[in-house]
């Protein structure tokens, strides 16, 4: 029932994007997202679309994986499109029915906004598809490192994330076991209305929480037994290292900023 859920959506590989440092990928995405919001005409949008297509090719992932990431947001995109078509006014009137009008600005905005959303989603899923959760956590820890000086518990947050990732399969297995145990005692999780079904989840959630707390306690003790004492003085097995790939990414970022800045109106 639950065994087929993949953790994150990382697809292992050895493409240019897979091997780039997670820090440069993260920084690039932040920059790219800003550029997507700065783009405001067909030239700038075309440049961004072309760049996204290029990046997808560079990742050497099959297109179906990447398009799958758009699935959960189709509705959102559709909704924004419809909303903009009917509400945003201005320019030539294309169509009129009673007090409803579809005007030039509306159509324009609808197209641009859906491209914006699509690009953002495609690009960020490209990150999670090509970066293992562990690398991602480590990249975040390093990037947020400076905030540690103003009291942000960066190391602790990163450790929490990585332990959470490590325990997802364990807890999945446990949930599966509890569901089976409750079903064996006659619990029914598949029929009834929404409220009923939600209520039926309580006998799954409570044992799961109880055991998660017990696990947390034991894990804390095991970590202490192995000399864990916070982030100070700790070394890491896999040190992140920038390579020529990251220099190329930096060059691409500069070119992209210049291009958008030049053609933007």
């Amino acid at each position: 029932m639950l065994q087929n859920i993949a953790i994150g959506q990382y697809v292992p590989g050895r493409s240019f994007l897979h091997l780039a440092d997670p820090r440069s990928k993260l920084l690039f995405i932040v920059m790219f997202a800003t550029l997507v919001f700065l783009a405001n005409n067909s030239i700038t949008y075309s440049i961004l679309i072309a760049f996204t297509v290029f990046s997808i090719l560079l990742s050497r992932l099959s297109l179906s994986y990447i398009l799958k990431s758009l699935k959960p947001v189709w509705l959102l995109i559709l909704f924004t499109v419809v909303l903009h078509i009917f509400i945003t006014k201005g320019g030539t009137v294309y169509y009129q029915l009673g007090s409803f009008t579809v005007e030039e600005q509306g159509v324009r905005q609808a197209i641009f906004i859906s491209i914006r959303l699509g690009l953002l989603i495609l690009f960020s899923s490209l990150l999670t598809l090509t970066t293992s959760p562990m690398d991602l956590t480590e990249g975040l820890e390093r990037l947020l490192g400076p905030f540690g000086r103003i009291g942000v518990p960066v190391h602790e947050i990163a450790l929490m994330m990585s332990i959470a990732l490590r325990f997802i399969p364990t807890l999945m297995e446990e949930t599966d076991k509890i569901i089976k145990a409750q079903s064996a005692r006659g619990a029914d999780f598949t029929s009834g209305n929404l409220v009923r079904r939600a209520k039926n989840l309580i006998p799954i959630a409570i044992p799961l929480f109880v055991s998660a707390f017990r696990r947390a306690e034991e894990l804390a003790m095991a970590m202490e037994a192995r000399g864990y004492r916070g982030g100070v003085g700790r070394t890491r097995l896999n040190k992140l290292r920038f390579s020529w790939r990251d220099s190329l990414i930096a060059v691409a970022a500069v070119l992209l900023i210049l291009a958008i800045g030049w053609w933007r109106t």
Binding site: P169, R215, E218, L219, A225, T235
Partner: protein, 283 residues
């Protein structure tokens, strides 16, 4: 510093507040020493204080009164606590709840990262440790895909990488299937023999204690018996009074002797089989 005795307990007492507000005495004045390089089994049923004993050995708990010395260092000494924990490695009961890393090598690295070991040295030690527990082909495997016995071996590798003097198995085989239990015991014996690691195996399976150098039986917070497996297991009645089982071979022989058969004492199944055959032939 006493080189012979790795662990020394001097009149150690420990208690905690029970659920109804009363004091629960877990250990009442325990005195014992554990020699370097030995393989010691600690037997006792639930609530005998054997697990508390383990947690006192690496300063996860501190004694209420009395002293515990690890290679001469007092576990109360806050400055020595990390050194003590490096020396005294501990494998816990539930294999899932002691693995921190998302891959086998990440997990073995955890203790070394805590110690601040240089990444290059770390790589070397991880390879050595995984080799010594026979898990070198699983470096990048995800722990949840391993069997219980394999997970415990990874946990042992994580300790071995820290170059400890003692490994405490705190009911490390309790949740494993017979095969996993055998894997772990086999490994513990190998590390004891070949690498000179002192092993303290805390267990409630008397069979696991048969081959150790010494058996300590705990009952109600006190050391009930302490000696070689032969001495301890020959006192079947006393063990059973403490709610403990004896190895199967010893029990069979005990029952037969009670029925009037003349059988010499032995700890291993092969001995018993041989004696039984001989008895059958001479009849």
């Amino acid at each position: 510093m006493n080189e012979e005795n790795l662990l020394t307990f001097r009149n150690v007492a420990f208690s905690y507040d029970g659920e109804e507000g009363q004091r629960v005495e877990v250990l009442k004045g325990v005195d014992l020493t554990i020699a370097k390089g030995s393989f010691v089994s600690v037997l006792g049923h639930n609530g005998s204080g054997k697990s508390t004993l383990a947690k006192l050995m690496n300063a996860l708990l501190l004694p209420e009164s009395g002293t515990i010395l690890v290679s001469g260092a007092d576990t109360r000494n806050g400055e020595m606590i990390w050194e003590i924990r490096r020396h005294v490695g501990m494998v816990f009961q539930n294999p899932d709840n002691q693995i921190v890393g998302a891959t086998v090598e990440d997990d073995v690295a955890f203790g070394l990262e805590n110690m601040g070991v240089d990444p290059q040295e770390m790589r070397k030690r991880i390879d050595e440790a995984l080799h010594s527990v026979g898990m070198e082909n699983y470096t990048l495997a995800q722990p949840y895909r391993l069997s219980g016995g394999q997970k415990q071996r990874v946990a042992i590798a994580g300790i071995m990488a820290m170059r400890p003097s003692v490994i405490i198995l705190d009911e490390a085989t309790a949740m494993l299937d017979p095969q996993g239990r055998q894997e772990v015991m086999h490994l513990a014996k190998k590390l004891n023999r070949e690498e000179g690691i002192t092993i303290v195996n805390i267990t409630h399976f008397p069979e696991e204690a048969v081959d150790s150098d010494r058996v300590i039986v705990m009952n109600r917070g006190e050391v009930l018996m302490d000696g070689q497996p032969g001495e301890v297991f020959s006192q079947v009645e006393r063990l059973q009074e403490a709610g403990l089982d004896v190895p199967f071979t010893v029990r069979v022989r005990h029952e037969l002797v009670a029925k009037g058969y003349d059988l010499p004492f032995g700890l291993h199944q092969e001995e018993l089989v041989e004696h039984l055959c001989r008895l059958l032939l001479t009849k």
